[in-house]
C-alpha cells in the first residue's frame, strides 16, 4: 500500500505547517509583554498576529485529526499515553486562545495584565509540551505488546524529549522576535531586533545540539542526512542575518530552521511512529497502526482537494495583512492627535512574511 507512506508524509507536512505558522505566534505571545512596554505597544504586538493565530492553530487540530483518520492505532496510544501532558497542553491553548479575545474587552489595567500573563504562560507552555511529546515519540516510551502505554506521567519527562521541547521554545522565540521586527514600527521594531540578537545565538547552539542528539537517537547512518544538515545551515544563516539586520531573510531562515527540525524528527522516526522502550518488537509503525486502504483513499482525495485551497486562502490572508502595525494606532484618541500624523503603514518592508505557505 503506497498510501501508507504518503499519509506519513501528509502528517509530517501538517505538523511542520503547524510549527512554522503557530511557531511565530507562540513567539509573539511570549514576547508581547517585553516588546510592548505599555498597553498600546502590547496591543500593537498582539495585533500583528490578531487575524492569523486562529487559522494557524487549526493546523494542530488537523494534524491530530489526520493521525486519527490515517493511523488510529498511533492516535489511540499517543493521546492516551500523553494523557496528563495533553490536559496541560489543552489548558494552555484554551487560556491563550481566549486571552486574545478577552484582554481588550475591558478597559481595566488589572484585567489586561492578567490576560497578558496568561497569554505569555500559555504561549510558552504549549510549544514546550508539544516538543516534549514529539521528542518522546522518537526516544521511546514503555509500550507493551497490545500497543498500550504502560508508563506514568513521569516517564514522559526524558532528557531528549525535554531538550526537544526547549529547542522548539527557543526557535519559537527567535521566530516571534524576527516576525515582530518585520511587522512593527519604531521602538517596537527596535526592541524586537535587539531581542532577536539576544536570542539568536542561544537558539543556534540549541538547534545544533538538537540535530546531533536527534541523529544519535534515531540510530541512523554516521553522516547527517540532508534535512539535519539543512537545519544546521539554516540556523547559522538565521543568526548571521539577525546580526546583519535583515529582518525578512532572518525570519525566512528561522522558518526553514523550524521546518527542518520538525521534519528531522519524523525522518528519524520512519517507519516507526512511536518507539517502544520495552521491546523494539512492540514499536508502533506506520503499518501496524494504519487505517484500511479504502479509508486512506477517501482521505487522500479529500486532502488533495482541500489542502491547496487552504494554502491559497491562508496565503491571501497574509497578503491582506502584510502592512506593519504601529503602536500609534492604539493610543487613546487625544494621544493620537497629539502625535505627528505619520503614516500608519510603511510601504517598505511590507512584503508578506516568507514561509506562510509551507
Amino acid at each position: 500500500m503506497r498510501l501508507v507512506p504518503f499519509w506519513f508524509i501528509v502528517i509530517t507536512v501538517l505538523w511542520t505547517g503547524f510549527f512554522i505558522l503557530e511557531g511565530f505566534d507562540f513567539g509573539v505571545g511570549m514576547l508581547h509583554g517585553v516588546v510592548g512596554r505599555d498597553d498600546a505597544g502590547r496591543r500593537a504586538a498582539i495585533n500583528t498576529i490578531g487575524p492569523l493565530w486562529d487559522g494557524n492553530e487549526v493546523w494542530l487540530i488537523v494534524a491530530g485529526a489526520a493521525i486519527f483518520a490515517a493511523f488510529p492505532g498511533w492516535y489511540a496510544t499517543m493521546f492516551s499515553g500523553f494523557y496528563l501532558a495533553l490536559v496541560l497542553l489543552l489548558a494552555s491553548l484554551m487560556v491563550r486562545g481566549v486571552s486574545f479575545e478577552y484582554r481588550g474587552k475591558r478597559n481595566a489595567l488589572r484585567w489586561r495584565r492578567t490576560w497578558d500573563g496568561l497569554l505569555t504562560a500559555g504561549s510558552l507552555l504549549a510549544p514546550l509540551l508539544i516538543g516534549v511529546a514529539l521528542g518522546d515519540l522518537l526516544t521511546g516510551l514503555p509500550i507493551n505488546s497490545h500497543q498500550e502505554y504502560t508508563g506514568s506521567f513521569w516517564n514522559l519527562l526524558q532528557p531528549y524529549g525535554l531538550f526537544t521541547g526547549i529547542t522548539f521554545v527557543l526557535i519559537c522565540l527567535l521566530s516571534g522576535a524576527t516576525f515582530l521586527g518585520l511587522k512593527t514600527t519604531d521602538d517596537l521594531r527596535e526592541r524586537a531586533g535587539r531581542l532577536a540578537r539576544r536570542v539568536a545565538p542561544v537558539t543556534g547552539a540549541a538547534v545544533v545540539a538538537f540535530v546531533i542528539w536527534t541523529h544519535v537517537t534515531a540510530r541512523s547512518t554516521f553522516f547527517l542526512n540532508p534535512v539535519e544538515l539543512l537545519a544546521i545551515l539554516a540556523v547559522i544563516a538565521a543568526v548571521w542575518l539577525v546580526y546583519d539586520h535583515r529582518e525578512g531573510f532572518a525570519f525566512a531562515a528561522t522558518t526553514v530552521t523550524m521546518a527542518a527540525c520538525v521534519v528531522s524528527i519524523f525522518t528519524g522516526l520512519y517507519p516507526n511512529v512511536m518507539v517502544s522502550s520495552t521491546n523494539s518488537a512492540y514499536n508502533l509503525t506506520v503499518h501496524n497502526t494504519a487505517s484500511g486502504a479504502y479509508s486512506l483513499k477517501v482521505m487522500t482525495v479529500v486532502v488533495v482537494i482541500f489542502l491547496p485551497f487552504v494554502l491559497a486562502y491562508q496565503t491571501w490572508t497574509y497578503y491582506v495583512f502584510r502592512r506593519r502595525v504601529s503602536r500609534r494606532e492604539f493610543l487613546p484618541l487625544t494621544g493620537r492627535h497629539a502625535a505627528p500624523s505619520a503614516p500608519t503603514a510603511t510601504p517598505d518592508g511590507a512584503a508578506p512574511p516568507a514561509g506562510q505557505g509551507l
Binding site: 488510529p72 492516551s80 486562545g97 481566549v98 477517501v298
Partner: protein, 461 residues
C-alpha cells in the same frame, strides 16, 4: 466510581459545555451575515451598526467555542483509545475532513472579517462573513456524520471482528445523519435568533435606539418562527428513524416496558426509572406515541422488556436498557420547551404585525428570559440522543465500557476532570459576563469610511 464512569462524566461535561457555544456561533454567524447583506444592499447605517453590534457578540462566543472544541478533538484518543483504535478508520475520517474543509475556512475568514473592515472591498468583506457561516455549517455536517455513525453504523464491513469503512457515501446519506443534521442546523438558528431577540428586547426595554433594534427583533422573529416549527417537525421524523434503528432509545423515552399498539403518550409520570416498571402516568394522550414513533395512528412500539430479551439473545448476556429516567424526562423537557419557544415566537410575530412589539413591556421581559430556553432544549435533546445509545458506544458494535482507555487510571481522570471543571467554569463566567456587558452597550456609531482620524477598526484586540 470506575474509570468508565469518570470518563463518561468528563465527556458529558465538556461536550454539553461545548454545545452551549456551538449553536450560538452557527446561528449568530448566519444572522450577522444576513444583517451585513442588508447593509450591503441598502447601504443603510442601521444595518451596519447592527452588524457590528452582533458581530462583537459572535466573536466573544466563537473564542470559547473554538478552545472548547480543541478538547473535543483530543478527548477520543485520550479517554476512549480502545474505541479510537477500533473505529478510527471510519470515525476519524469525518473529523479530519471537518478540520480541513470547515475549521480552516471558519477561523481564517473570521480573522479576515474581523480585521478586514478597512482592508477589503465591501463585496469581498461581505463574502468573508458568509464563508465564516459556511464554515460553521460544514463543520456541523462532518461531526454529525461521525455521531450518526455511532447511532446507526453504515458503510462498513467486518474484517477480523473490526469494522472497516467501505462506502463513504453511505456515511453521508445515513438517514440518522440527514435528519439529525437538519435538526441541529434548525436548532442552531433557533438559538441564535433567540439570543438576538433577547438582546434586542433588552435594548428596547432600556431605551436603546428603538428604530434600530426593532429591525433586529423583527429579523430574529422572522427566523425564529419557522426555525422552531421545522425543528419540531424534523425532530418528529428523526424520532421515527431512531425508533427503527434504536428501538430502546424511543421505548425508554416513553418508559414503555411492555409492547403496545396503539400507544399513548403520558404528559407526566410519577415514579419510573429502570427499577420501577409501573409508574403512575398522568394525562395519557391516546395514539400520540404511536404517531411520534412510527408516523401511524395505530403503530406498534416494542417495549423495553421484550427488547432486552431480544438483545440478550443477539449480543449475549448483559443489560441493554438505557437510563429510563433520563430518557423520559429529557424527551419531555425538549418537547415542552420547544412548544414554549414556538408560543413566545408566534406571540411576538403577532405583536410585530400590530406594530406593538417595541412597546409591549411584558413581551420584551418574556423575550429576554426566553434566551435560556433553547439552551435547555439543546441540552435535553443531546441527553436523549447520547444517553439513549447506551450501553453502546457504537450501536451494536462496541459497548461503552469496552471503549475506554485502559492505560488512563482513575487518578488521571479525576485530575483532568477537576482541571476542566475549574477552567470551563472560569471561561464560561467570563464569557457570560462579556456577553452581558456587550449586549447592554450602546450601538457602535456607523463607520465613516472617509474619516481619516479613525484608522482603528471598531473591532480589534
Amino acid at each position: 466510581m470506575t474509570n468508565v464512569d469518570l470518563a463518561r462524566w468528563q465527556f458529558a461535561f465538556v461536550t454539553i459545555n461545548h454545545f452551549f457555544f456551538v449553536p450560538v456561533t452557527i446561528g449568530l454567524a448566519f444572522l450577522t451575515a444576513l444583517l451585513q447583506t442588508a447593509w450591503y444592499r441598502s447601504k443603510r447605517d442601521e444595518y451596519l451598526r447592527l452588524t457590528r453590534f452582533f458581530g462583537t457578540l459572535l466573536v466573544i462566543n466563537v473564542a470559547i467555542g473554538v478552545v472548547t472544541g480543541l478538547v473535543q478533538e483530543f478527548q477520543f484518543g485520550m479517554n476512549w483509545s480502545a474505541y479510537s483504535r477500533l473505529v478510527g478508520n471510519i470515525f476519524g475520517a469525518p473529523l479530519a475532513m471537518e478540520g480541513l474543509a470547515a475549521f480552516f475556512l471558519e477561523s481564517t475568514f473570521l480573522g479576515l472579517w474581523l480585521f478586514g473592515w478597512d482592508k477589503l472591498s465591501r463585496r469581498v468583506h461581505l463574502l468573508t462573513i458568509w464563508l465564516v457561516s459556511l464554515g460553521t455549517v460544514l463543520s456541523a455536517a462532518f461531526i454529525m456524520a461521525a455521531n450518526s455513525w455511532m447511532q446507526h453504523p453504515v458503510g462498513y464491513v467486518m474484517v477480523n471482528g473490526k469494522p472497516q469503512l467501505n462506502d463513504i457515501w453511505a456515511v453521508f446519506t445515513n438517514q440518522v445523519f440527514v435528519w439529525g443534521y437538519s435538526k441541529v442546523l434548525l436548532a442552531s438558528l433557533v438559538t441564535g435568533a433567540a439570543v438576538m431577540l433577547a438582546v434586542s428586547a433588552w435594548q428596547l426595554r432600556h431605551g436603546g435606539a428603538p428604530e434600530v433594534f426593532t429591525r433586529s427583533a423583527r429579523l430574529a422573529l422572522i427566523v425564529l418562527v419557522p426555525a422552531i416549527l421545522f425543528t419540531m417537525l424534523v425532530g418528529d421524523e428523526l424520532g421515527v428513524i431512531e425508533a427503527k434503528y434504536q428501538p430502546m432509545k424511543i421505548a425508554a423515552a416513553e418508559a414503555q416496558w411492555t409492547t403496545c399498539q396503539p400507544c399513548s403518550f403520558s404528559l407526566f409520570q410519577i415514579g419510573g426509572g429502570n427499577n420501577d416498571h409501573t409508574p403512575t402516568q398522568i394525562l395519557a394522550i391516546p395514539h400520540l406515541l404511536s404517531l411520534l414513533a412510527t408516523n401511524h395512528w395505530d403503530g406498534k412500539v416494542i417495549g423495553l422488556s421484550p427488547l432486552q430479551s431480544q438483545y440478550q439473545k443477539q449480543f449475549g448476556p448483559g443489560y441493554y436498557v438505557p437510563n429510563v429516567f433520563i430518557q423520559y424526562w429529557s424527551m419531555r423537557v425538549m418537547a415542552y420547551v420547544g412548544v414554549l419557544v414556538l408560543l413566545i415566537a408566534v406571540y411576538g410575530l403577532w405583536l410585530l404585525r400590530r406594530q406593538k412589539l417595541a412597546t409591549s413591556r411584558r413581551f420584551l421581559w418574556v423575550a429576554i428570559w426566553a434566551a435560556v430556553l433553547p439552551f435547555l432544549m439543546n441540552t435535553a435533546g443531546w441527553l436523549l440522543t447520547e444517553s439513549g445509545r447506551q450501553p453502546w458506544i457504537v450501536q451494536g458494535i462496541m459497548l461503552t465500557k469496552n471503549g475506554v482507555s485502559s492505560s488512563v487510571g482513575v487518578t488521571s481522570i479525576v485530575i483532568s476532570l477537576v482541571i476542566f471543571v475549574l477552567l470551563y467554569g472560569v471561561l464560561a463566567t467570563v464569557d457570560l459576563m462579556l456577553m452581558l456587558k456587550y449586549s447592554r452597550q450602546q450601538l457602535p456609531p456607523a463607520h465613516a469610511e472617509t474619516d481619516a482620524d479613525a484608522p482603528v477598526p471598531a473591532v480589534q484586540y
